[in-house]
């Protein structure tokens, strides 16, 4: 496929009537290949129509260049025909005459009969034979848009530009027209660019979806490839494994844009009180049973008790939300998967190291690996049986879900698979899916299994769609689950608040660990503001018999550890283990200066101050070496030697990680 349209560093600035200027688009780079269907999506006013008009030549960029087949676009032309949102049919010409006007003006040198044949052919193409002599005001909106599409296609444009073509139509008509457009584009190999605000429309029709951020200064936020094969059928597309992840990706992006807009408008300032630098905190969490300490600290007043009087909990449905909140600076602190502070610090997010520190481990355990029920019925009851099954069926693409590359779920799952001789990237495909989406995807057979925190393993088992093949207690008992993470610059700016926050959450952890409070905690967690799940699915400690009955493969149910001997102290050994695993799977380079980084990231000092002020005396300083189910003991002596000894791993990069700049990558 050759390059058709190139948009290179395009800016568009409008001058305002009051003499100022409005930067609509900033630094847009985009390449469109022949035969591609590309959609622009974004909120109203993000400049997506402006971009389309610039490709059409109806408006010119303030700076930068747009080219069509290498030639600069300076004016509109019939090789880039536009289908306008309001149809733009000439009301004084009939359907046939409207199409004929375009054909006659573009193919003026063709014999009359041929031109007439083209007009008739395209009237037939959109199925409007019966209305060919009607006036536009006698047609419905859907029919008008079909005429506009016929008019556009009749002159064989190199590029078809559609500006919210179905925006003004009812849902049924829109669906029909989408199907027709898709068929026409497939059959005639049309290259098309469409502006839309309809997520489903974008996924259904596009090869690529260009998501634009909010203006002013809108840019391309992300470009999604739609890997659903063509020809597509509406009903089949919905069942494709990528459909929901694409859809949720776009919706997440649009929601994020909306939130950023709101946050830009809000502009909070730090409220200092009680000797704390900031008592108004936004704390992010993801609805999982493991969010109990955060929920309890809020509901039972531990935040307020320690002076943090204006804490606002922000519920994110995926870890992506937490990542963007911390990176964007609009979350003060967050519940994080245990690997996330390191992942941030080593440049996992957009290849830019962002130091994030952790002073508290809030939970341990509470995760498990679930496989689809049909494997259980096929006799796959163990890791070895799973491996044999995968190696027996290499032609089938098996997929498993995890929640974030830096989460313990991903690392545990990969460790478990690799220990069983399964390469998690070659024998399987691992997909990032929000926790709450897992059971649904498993039910739809979009994935074959997952590793996630409770309550979702239990829920899959209780709904009889999956079974727990291994719990984290078997793989790595007592592993850190969720930690408290804050940006290093935040911790430096608000040191006392950091200690108070650690104290409040540690206090809440202690509360959670008391069996007497269990029912109350489960009740709080089941509320809409937290998990929004029936209380039967939420368990903190040992499971009841109903859950255990799922015989052999359902081993002992994972239970959360919120508090206890050394449970909450951030451990350098554990973080180092995460560091090796993240490097093992190629997410981040292994830092040559790992000791220095651990010193900075693992804030034992903050934890110790908090614990001492709470009257909790540190019993043990280390948790010792880590024992894993395959018999390895991990100690912090020689991480690079450990990495080299592993059989299944990706290419490992070792680099000096400098926090103030980008990673100086050095291949080892």
């Amino acid at each position: 496929m050759s390059l058709l349209v190139a948009v290179d560093q395009v800016n568009k600035i409008f001058s305002l009537s009051d003499g100022g200027e409005y930067i609509a688009l900033k630094g847009i780079d985009l390449k469109i290949k022949t035969g591609e269907f590309v959609s622009f999506i974004g909120h109203s006013g993000c400049g997506k129509s402006t971009l389309l008009n610039m490709i059409a030549g109806l408006s010119l960029p303030s700076s930068g260049v747009l080219t069509l087949e290498g030639k600069k676009i300076t004016e509109p032309g019939p090789d880039r025909m536009v289908v306008f949102q309001n149809y733009s049919l000439l009301p004084w010409r009939s359907v046939r005459e409207n199409i004929a006007l375009a054909v006659n003006s573009v193919y003026g040198d063709m014999p009359k009969g041929d031109r007439r044949a083209i007009v008739e052919e395209h009237i037939n193409l959109v199925g409007l034979q019966h209305a060919a002599d009607k006036w536009p005001d006698q047609l419905s909106g859907g029919m008008k848009q079909r005429v506009a599409i016929a008019r556009a296609l009749a002159i064989r444009p190199k590029l078809l530009l559609l500006d919210e073509p179905f925006g003004a139509l009812d849902a049924l008509t829109r669906g029909n027209l989408q199907t027709q457009l898709m068929r026409i584009c497939d059959e005639n190999n049309v290259t098309a660019v469409m502006v839309t605000h309809d997520v489903d429309e974008a996924v259904l029709l596009s090869d690529r979806i260009v998501m634009l951020t909010n203006g002013p200064g809108a840019e391309i936020g992300n470009i999604l490839e739609v890997d659903i094969p063509r020809p597509r059928q509406r009903m089949e597309v919905v069942e494709h494994p990528s459909y929901y992840s694409l859809r949720s990706e776009i919706i997440y992006f649009l929601n994020q844009q909306k939130r950023i807009k709101k946050l830009r408008a809000r502009k909070t300032t730090a409220v200092a009180r009680h000797g704390l630098e900031k008592v108004n905190l936004d704390i992010g969490f993801v609805p999982l049973t493991a969010c109990a300490p955060v929920a309890i600290a809020k509901e039972k007043g531990f935040f307020a008790k320690h002076g943090l009087e204006e804490v606002n909990l922000t519920r994110e449905t995926s870890w992506r939300g937490i990542v963007d909140g911390i990176a964007g600076g609009y979350l003060d602190a967050a519940q994080m998967p245990s690997g996330m502070p390191l992942w941030f610090s080593l440049g996992g997010h957009k290849n830019t190291p962002l130091p994030v520190v952790s002073a508290l481990t809030m939970t341990r355990n509470g995760n498990a690996i679930t496989l689809s029920r049909r494997f259980y019925e096929q006799g796959v009851h163990s890791l070895n049986a799973f491996r044999d099954m995968l190696h027996r069926t290499p032609e089938t693409q098996h997929r498993m879900g995890m929640v974030h590359p830096s989460s313990m779920h991903n690392l545990l799952l990969r460790y478990w698979l690799a220990a069983g001789g399964i390469d998690p990237d070659r024998d399987l495909a691992l997909q990032t899916i929000p926790p709450a989406q897992m059971v649904v995807d498993l039910k739809n057979n979009a994935i074959d299994g997952f590793c996630v925190g409770e309550p979702w393993n239990l829920r899959a088992a209780m709904d009889e769609v999956g079974f727990t093949i291994a719990t984290d207690r078997e793989i790595y008992d007592g592993h850190p689950g969720k930690v408290l993470g804050v940006r290093e610059d935040w911790a430096a700016a608000y040191p006392n608040t950091h200690i108070a926050l650690t104290k409040a959450l540690l206090d809440a952890c202690r509360y959670c660990a008391d069996p007497e409070n269990e029912l109350e905690i489960r009740q709080i967690l089941s509320q809409r503001a937290y998990l929004g799940t029936p209380i039967d699915y939420i368990h903190l400690g040992d499971p009841n018999t109903k859950v255990c009955e799922l015989q052999k493969p359902m081993r002992e149910y994972a239970h959360h550890l919120f508090f206890g001997d050394g449970a909450n102290r951030p451990s350098r050994t554990e973080h180092l283990w995460h560091m090796t695993q993240l490097a093992r799977w190629g997410d981040v380079p292994f830092p040559r200066n790992w000791l220095e980084i651990l010193e900075r990231i693992v804030r034992v000092d903050v934890y110790s101050t908090a614990a001492r002020e709470l009257g909790l005396l540190d019993a043990k300083f280390t948790r010792g070496s880590i024992h894993l189910f395959d018999g390895t003991d991990f100690d912090a002596q020689d991480p690079i030697g450990y990495l080299n000894s592993l059989a299944i791993k990706r290419d490992i990069t070792i680099a000096e990680v400098v926090f103030d700049g980008r990673v100086a990558a050095l291949a080892a």
């Binding site: 109806l58 536009v82 306008f84 000439l90 004084w92 003006s105 536009p136």
Partner: protein
């Protein structure tokens, strides 16, 4: 109810009566109120004039006054000179209107298109047009007489100068108001200038142009009467009124006024009919 059914029974065999009745049933509700309105108006007028409060004769004087009755009954007589029936008087005025109005339409539409397509020209001419537009038709009469020396061309000029502004201004507006979408279609298709004028500009501006034409025809008709009153010694309904006034034939004036009003109504309907034929309203 009884009489009604009897009428029906009788009407059935007679197709003419049946169609009249059908017409009346369909259009009656539309026709009755204006007929009643006119009747009441004429009655009040007659009562007021016969009460002696005013010297103005009542509508019945059209028939009771002998001179006027003759004019009413014989509109087509022609005794040479200025002594002609009312039809010929009106015809002469209409002839002048036709010439002046046609000139106004041609100039108004073509200049309007020119100015409407050029924002610069529009800015340049706006104050002049608005200034000239405000000058009353009667004020043009002495200027026209001075400039053209003769009554006939001066009268036509007054018609022209009165009628041209609404056509011009509406055409400018119509061209300026061409929806951007249609212009975009033209740009994307790279229509030639001729195709653009024929297929986009004129059809799109036509409703505006016709609005201008309808306002202008009314103004032209108003202006001719005024002009003829001032320009003595020509055949025309305006001078006929002036002449009658000079000779104190008040009821003749009233008859002439009826003619004027009726012709004005016909002119307006004619343009409206033309508009319906040429540019039917389409969204």
């Amino acid at each position: 109810m009884v009489t009604h059914s009897q009428v029906r029974k009788q009407a059935r065999p007679n197709p003419v009566l049946a169609s009249v009745q059908q017409f009346w049933q369909k259009r009656g509700p539309d026709l009755v109120p204006p007929i009643i309105g006119i009747a009441v108006f004429l009655t009040i007028w007659q009562l007021v004039s016969s009460s002696g409060l005013t010297r103005l004769p009542g509508p019945l004087s059209l028939w009771t006054d002998t001179r006027t009755r003759e004019l009413l009954l014989y509109p087509f007589y022609d005794l040479g000179g200025l002594n002609k029936g009312l039809f010929w008087q009106t015809w002469a005025s209409l002839g002048r209107v036709a010439q002046g109005y046609t000139a106004a339409a041609v100039v108004g539409i073509s200049v309007g298109v020119l100015v409407g397509t050029s924002p610069w020209l529009n800015k340049a001419t706006y104050p002049i047009f608005q200034f000239l537009r405000m000058v009353a038709p009667l004020a043009w009469v002495p200027i026209a007489l001075v400039a053209l020396q003769q009554n006939q061309p001066a009268a036509i000029f007054v018609i022209f100068i009165t009628a041209v502004w609404p056509i011009l201004i509406n055409t400018i507006e119509g061209v300026r108001q061409i929806p951007e979408d249609y212009d975009n279609v033209a740009k994307v298709l790279q229509l030639s200038r001729k195709d653009y004028y024929l297929n986009i500009l004129f059809p799109s501006a036509l409703p505006y142009i016709f609005t201008g034409l309808r306002i202008a025809i009314g103004l032209a008709w108003l202006a001719i009467i005024a002009a003829e009153i001032v320009m003595s010694g020509i055949v025309g309904i305006g001078f006929f009124i002036w002449d009658a006034y000079q000779q104190n034939y008040i009821s003749e004036i009233i008859l002439a006024v009826f003619y004027i009003g009726f012709v004005g109504l016909l002119l307006d309907r004619a343009i409206a009919f033309l508009q319906m034929k040429i540019a039917p309203a389409r969204k």
